[in-house]
């Protein structure tokens, strides 16, 4: 569903969702869920469905603190998704993982099954490219992609200086250019 220009429609929907209206919630999630899942896929989440679920629940709990239009709503949802992704990676890093066979380290990309189930073919392909970037570069580009955010907006969302975000985007795009050139 493309973003609409009807700000009053979104405002009414947001107010209804804050009051617990089920239909309003469905419409809000229809706006943001694809963007959230796409973001998590391109950022290589090990379990994008689980992190997306956590994100949606967090949105429900925090909705009364959200104020803004459609664009801000999507940006807000992506910010929550990013934080949930960071949390999930920290939790995973603290769980011992037993490698039974060194050959397992060379198995085909384990993301493939998850991504196929989600149906975001384009996102799956771009994920392979972003995996080759640093995490910070990939974060900036993923937010550009799924939130269509400006660099100042990304800097605010990631709590980073604008100069740092600008540099991350520049280096990330340069790295992508080299990857695409090498693949020709």
């Amino acid at each position: 569903m493309p973003l609409s220009d009807d700000t009053s429609d979104f405002a009414a929907r947001l107010a209804a969702a804050k009051a617990g209206d089920e239909l309003a919630w469905r419409r809000l999630f229809r706006l943001a869920s694809g963007r959230v899942v796409g973001f998590l896929v391109v950022r290589g989440a090990a379990d994008p469905e689980a992190v997306a679920g956590d994100t949606f629940l967090a949105m429900v709990r925090s909705i009364r603190r959200f104020h803004g239009g459609e664009r801000e709503f999507i940006a807000w949802s992506l910010t929550i998704a990013h934080r949930r992704l960071v949390d999930s990676r920290r939790a995973a890093s603290r769980r011992p993982e037993i490698v039974t066979d060194p050959a397992d380290l060379e198995q085909p990309d384990h993301h493939d099954v998850e991504e196929a189930a989600l149906g975001l073919v384009g996102a799956a392909r771009v994920r392979r490219l972003l995996d080759r970037l640093t995490p910070d570069q990939a974060d900036v580009l993923a937010l550009r992609i799924y939130g269509d955010l400006t660099l100042p907006e990304i800097a605010d969302r990631l709590s980073k200086p604008l100069t740092a975000v600008t540099s991350l985007q520049h280096r990330g795009l340069e790295a992508l250019r080299r990857l695409l050139a090498d693949s020709d």
Binding site: G20, A50, F56, G122, V126
Partner: protein
Amino acid sequence: MQDEFDRIASELRSEADATVFADLTEAAVVRGSRPRLIGRLRRRAATTAAAVVLAFSGLGGVAYAANGAAPGDFLYGLDRALETVGWGNGGTAERLAEVKALVEAGNAGQGLEHATDSLLGHIEGAGSEAAQSALLAAAERIATLGEGEAAGPPEGVADLLTYLSENIDAIDGQAVAELARAIGGNVPAGPPEDTPAGPPEDVPAGPPGDVPAGPPVSTP
């Protein structure tokens, strides 16, 4: 590259917008449309906290000092830690006292809801969302399990409150989240056999299907 990137980005957004994830959002939709359980708990927490404060007032509104626990009480250590912070610090210390009052009154779930609200502005960084989510989840677990004055506070609540009181000026959201996840027995039974014994690990986030979507829990 910029133009190429913009083109790819536009295509990815279109792909995302055209894909429906109803299964992934269903649990959240149910939660979002439930009769405002969380809101009700929050209002009750504030009301109850105010009533408890008033009931013990007599020291200029700093009611907590009149209700200090004695050695042997389960929150005695918390009392001592709060004293080191000093009364008259305002806001956060008094909010924490209200949380403790709720817990002592057998309303730990409401206490955690109140803690989520009152400490919101004091948790910064990437851990804040995790802390809020974990506190509210713990409150709902307590509401589901049920609690009574005779049973005492649920497991893990005292540890959380002690941490908050000892770190009141520098609350770490991730630490709060970990402590909150351990409330109500939400801790793995034990470490795997081939790992050394140690503190319980974080419970990994589960799929949306793990979230109970039953009717609103009746409040006592």
